[in-house]
């Protein structure tokens, strides 16, 4: 028997009673040990998709499977094997982090040690501070810890870095890397591009409940190769002279911003920098080669 995929979403449609279609024919899958980012703007249908996988919502049509099980029908068999971090809330306002972790630890067969989890997530100092008095980042990290305490095979993290400072983000990235290393499948719903780019093995870009693109961050970024070299330099350059030197037309898109209609080959870039050096001109930012995930994302989500 082939190994069961950690997550399978096929032809998922979720329509709300008001008639709003939140998810409109979405399909994707993920394996054990894979970090999959569900990336999309607010209202793209990410949370609805995640909550269908968690068993909170039933598909209007299509199917979802987690570890081969139906999240609604097999709910009781699935809960010991999954970890959930809701987009917000989910914790008693008066509870202390150490109490919350001990409580959740009691729900699972072989839980993580609460004390070590508090340590890893940088919560040891606030272990006895009521939840309502924690900072936004500390609350997020506690929610993450509660998702992990049962050693899940699949972890659902809905916007885990929302409101988290730089140091907190680093901790969360490390924890996600640990999960991947021990074979846990992580589904990360986020609207933050750089988080998806940094932590995900694969990215599924969604908007209006539909899949727009799917692949590794590198695949997505090279999917449409850039055919221009863009750079900043002092305004009012001799674009005709530069065009001749590069053998490609150069235009000044905005004062001080230029675009050369040339393949971003190293040789062409070398010609550009040589020409600037000859004229004793500084070079501002230079964008050549693959586009950023942000470019891909904006192009895909603005057209839909």
């Amino acid at each position: 028997m082939p190994p069961v995929a950690a997550l399978v979403v096929s032809g998922l449609v979720v329509r709300y009673p008001a008639g709003v279609v939140a998810v409109d024919g979405l399909s994707f899958s993920a394996e054990a040990g894979e970090v999959l980012a569900l990336l999309g703007p607010n209202g793209a249908g990410k949370t609805t998709t995640v909550e269908t996988l968690e068993g909170y919502k039933s598909p209007t049509s299509g199917t979802v499977r987690v570890l081969g099980l139906d999240p609604v029908a097999d709910h009781a068999r699935l809960t010991p094997r999954i970890g959930v971090m809701l987009q917000k809330g989910g914790v008693y306002p008066g509870i202390r982090p150490v109490e919350a972790l001990r409580l959740f630890a009691a729900f699972y067969e072989s839980p993580e040690e609460p004390a070590s989890l508090l340590d890893r997530l940088g919560l040891a100092k606030v272990a006895r501070t009521p939840w309502r008095r924690l900072s936004g980042g500390e609350q997020q990290r506690l929610s993450l810890a509660l998702a992990l305490v049962g050693r899940p095979e699949v972890a659902f993290l809905d916007e885990p870095t929302a409101g988290v400072d730089v140091a907190g983000r680093q901790v969360i990235r490390e924890v996600i890397a640990e999960l991947r290393a021990r074979g846990c499948c992580v589904l990360l719903a986020t609207h933050e591009l750089d988080e998806a780019e940094r932590v995900a093995d694969r990215v599924v870009i969604v908007d209006h409940g539909r899949l727009l693109a799917e692949g590794t961050p590198a695949e997505l970024m090279s999917s449409t190769a850039r055919t221009t070299i863009e750079f900043g330099a002092p305004a009012g350059l001799d674009v005709a002279g530069l065009s001749a030197a590069l053998g490609a037309p150069v235009i000044e898109t905005r004062p001080g911003e230029y675009s050369a209609a040339a393949e971003p080959a190293p040789a062409t870039v070398a010609k550009l920098t040589a020409w600037l050096a000859e004229h004793d001109l500084p070079l501002g930012d230079l964008r050549a080669g693959r586009q950023s995930l942000e470019d891909v994302f904006l192009r895909l989500t603005s057209g839909s």
Binding site: A76, V84, L86, G89, G90, Y92, G94, I95, A106, F107
Partner: protein, 239 residues
């Protein structure tokens, strides 16, 4: 069982840590008991006011814990997504409800010990059989808890807070707990007798004064014990 006990421990710890719930479950009943025992202005109809007040505040204690305390806590837990989050753990709803029940019974046991202790110090001498207290308080707990959950399952936390406290005040006044039912005007008294608060205090008063326990009060208690939880279960929204 381990899950239920862990959940019960947290429910209890959170309840006892909230100042307002301690005020509600112990502060107010103890104050009423002590104040009106010394300031004999209530038309209690007993030689010593404590003989009327002790069963009354025991009934009040059940109502405050099972209806008000449970309702408000659960309403906020629903609003803050706690119930939703627990729904994706292996705890399960039956275990959660079992834990809430155990926590309520533990708080009630504490209330009975404290209130009965204070009443005995104040000179309460129950003359009847207090054995009827246990089934009456259990039935009332089911009925009041059903009412609390009925509010918690539909309203926002703040609205549950307002509604439960309002209902508490109405049932305190109409429930024969500090003001004898006999003092109420006829129609109001008839209404009161159909409500679980008066039914409970009727049974407790009769049982502690060696009077015959009215059968109608048992019926009312039993009816609420079934109807309120059924209504709550039918309408409860977990998110």
């Amino acid at each position: 069982m381990r899950k239920v006990l862990a959940q019960t421990r947290v429910e209890l710890a959170l309840t006892l840590r909230r100042g307002e719930s301690v005020l509600l479950s112990l502060g107010i009943p103890v104050t009423l008991l002590v104040f009106f025992s010394f300031v004999d202005v209530l038309p209690t109809g007993t030689d010593d006011p404590v003989d009327f007040l002790a069963p009354g505040v025991l009934a009040l204690a059940v109502m405050s814990t099972a209806m008000v305390g449970l309702g408000i806590a659960t309403g906020f837990e629903r609003q803050y997504g706690v119930l939703k989050r627990l729904g994706s753990t292996p705890l399960g709803r039956p275990a959660l409800l079992a834990a809430k029940t155990l926590a309520i019974l533990a708080v009630e046991a504490l209330q009975v010990v404290v209130l009965a202790g204070v009443a005995l110090v104040l000179g309460w001498r129950p003359s009847g059989s207090v054995a009827a207290f246990v089934p009456a308080m259990l039935l009332a707990t089911a009925g009041f808890a059903g009412l609390g959950m009925l509010l918690a399952g539909r309203l926002r936390g703040e609205a549950v807070l307002a509604a439960a406290n309002g209902l508490y005040l109405v049932l305190l006044l109409l429930g024969g707990m500090v003001i004898p039912l006999a003092e109420l005007p006829g129609p109001l008294r008839a209404l009161s007798r159909a409500l679980p608060a008066a039914a409970l205090s009727d049974v407790l008063h009769a049982a502690s004064n060696a009077a015959a326990v009215p059968g109608r009060a048992w019926l009312v208690l039993a009816a609420w014990a079934v109807a309120a939880p059924v209504a709550a279960a039918a309408t409860f929204r977990w998110e």
